[in-house]
């Protein structure tokens, strides 16, 4: 159990670290186009050529012939680690041109192939993951903050505050959320800068989702409000704020943690869905959703299967979060002594 948790947390940390350092790991700029290589298949990595085996991985250039892409075997290009490439700002701190791997210029390395503009799909998956996962996490934070606030107020003060807030949660829970999300998106400006879209998107997704955490939090607050230590603290004259901060917040942390692990993948999916339909983050900024939206055309889907790369990334992310949610739930919400 403990090792499983540790492995999952390590996997999650590795995933987020990889996305955070996308600029370093990705060999290319996500918006840099290479018009000579549209829809190029994934670059093949070789260790063996006519001269025998080599210790260093190398690639060939793609040449576009009548029968599609063929490898130009006349010249091989070794894959360099920690090589120099396009300039970027590492974590927003310092400028550098160092990339994890790359090949010398006339050749290019596209591990997941390229899209219709010749942009490197591998780099875009990493950069797109930044946007999608950040949207998921930010929306989760908003939903949990709003939910916890309403839940604590409703549970702690009771009476008409409780009733009106719970009526609100019922309203939001019975909304057909995807329709409503589309509807709300329809009322927001369509052509705005990607940063503002991102901001609006996370706010909308987060604000629609406050109801369920609010209900869960309220339930816990209701039961912990009547605990003896809370009653004691109040009879000693502790202020409401003090009681909530010292005695009630620790109780709801477990639920908030489980909700976070459940909500993050769900909101990543929401962002992906909206962007897939062209209502989310716009081109040229990459997000897993808008990368997938080209697959709405059958011809692209049939011929260029490597463009499904974001699907793989999404599946990995969702599964890690789902497994973690199971573990967190069994450890925090129903802790067994001696486990």
């Amino acid at each position: 159990m403990r090792t499983k948790t540790a492995i999952l947390i390590a996997a999650l940390a590795a995933l987020h670290l990889a996305l955070l350092c996308a600029a370093f790991i990705a060999p290319y700029d996500p918006v840099a186009q290479n018009r000579e290589l549209p829809y190029a298949p994934p670059t093949r990595l070789h260790l063996h050529d006519a001269a025998g085996w080599h210790l260093r991985l190398f690639v060939y250039r793609w040449t576009l012939g009548d029968e599609g892409y063929l490898e130009d075997k006349s010249e091989s290009f070794p894959v360099h680690l920690l090589t120099t490439g396009s300039s970027y700002e590492f974590l927003g701190i310092f400028d550098t041109t160092r990339h994890l791997f790359g090949v010398a210029p006339p050749a290019s390395i596209a591990l997941f192939g390229t899209d219709g503009f010749g942009r490197d799909e591998f780099s875009r998956v990493l950069y797109g993951g930044q946007i999608s996962v950040a949207a998921g996490i930010a929306a989760t934070l908003i939903a949990l903050l709003a939910g916890a606030l309403c839940g604590v107020i409703a549970g702690y003060y009771g009476n008409w505050t409780d009733q009106s807030l719970m009526a609100g949660t019922e309203l939001f829970l019975s909304l057909p959320w995807l329709y409503f999300l589309l509807g709300v998106r329809a009322f927001l400006p369509l052509h705005v800068s990607p940063v503002r879209t991102f901001f609006l998107l996370t706010c909308v997704i987060g604000l629609i989702g406050w109801a369920r955490p609010a209900r869960l939090v309220r339930g816990i607050v209701l039961s912990s409000r009547t605990r003896n230590y809370v009653l004691a603290a109040r009879s000693f004259g502790a202020s409401d704020l003090h009681v909530i901060r010292e005695h009630i917040l620790p109780e709801i942390l477990g639920v908030l943690m489980t909700q976070a692990t459940v909500l993050v993948p769900r909101y990543i999916a929401a962002e992906v869905t909206l962007s897939f339909f062209g209502l989310g983050v716009n081109e040229p900024v990459a997000s897993w959703g808008n990368m997938l939206s080209t697959l709405q055309q059958y011809s692209v889907l049939v011929s260029y299967a490597w463009l499904l790369a974001p699907v793989g990334a999404l599946i990995i992310t969702s599964v890690i979060y789902a497994l973690l949610a199971d573990v967190v739930q069994s450890r925090l919400e129903f802790p067994h002594p001696g486990n």
């Binding site: 909304l175 589309l182 699907v311």
Partner: protein, 324 residues
Amino acid sequence: MRYLGRTLLRAILLLAGISILCFLFTEMAPGSFFDELRLNPQVSPETIANLRSRYGLDQPLIVRYGRWVKSAARADFGYSIAYNAPVAPLLWGRAKNTLLLTATGMLLTWLISLPLGVWLAARRGRMLDQAFSIASSFVVSIPEVVIAVALLAIVVRWRLLPLSAGPLHGEGISLRTHVQDLATRMLLPVTILVFVESAIIVRHVRASVLEVLGTPFVQAAHSFGICRARVLFRHVLPAAASPAISLFGFSLAGLVSGSLLIEVICGWPGLGPLILEATLSRDLYLVIGGIMLSALFMVGGNLIADLMLLAADPRIRTGALDAD
């Protein structure tokens, strides 16, 4: 009877609340349908102002809401600007296709998952059960849009299903070819729908049957020597029905809204593509109409589930569960 009245009242209040919420959002929205016109230098601001007043968009929020309620009472649900027609017939034309798809999907889903869930619960811990629970937790954790695209990719890549095009309700063709055409077209969206939904429902059915299997009265029944099949069907299933009935209500509730994604991805001419287009062109009342229609099914589905629970579960009739 009081329970019924209370649930009904709550459903109506919910619908009213949702419509008010929709209108509040339209008020906050900075854009409108006429934004594109405004960019056109040949259209004068007066024309736009005229158009706005013709559709009543220059009125204050309360007046617009009042008019909308009146129009809803006439079963029009407002006026679509893009289609230049009342919203309700537009929605209904598409909703028929959506319902055809989702009702078929739901029927198949329940036909598959109910027996499967009970069977897996009865064989708990065996290989097949474990394999299924791993597979289903995998499916449940993956976003629906990803599953849909991945299945579509598989189907298209290996030409598993014919992807026919053309109008859905063709004229001058025999009933047989019509049904055949419809069936081949529905195969893919229905498969995706069943795949996604049944993973969830089987898990719930299995869990609720397992919960009852662990109770003392089932152990007692076993120790009396009643045969396993009889215990399962006569004693366990009725007791495990309540969660399944609520779940059935959820399925009903999702009849209109559950397939939006799949319709758009598979190109099924249902409500999904209509609402998506309306969203993109900001056809205000059409969007609100779509939300209201799916909310109607949501609330209605839950209402039906409540009523079925009332009929099936004596604890609700006597109010034993209202103690909290």
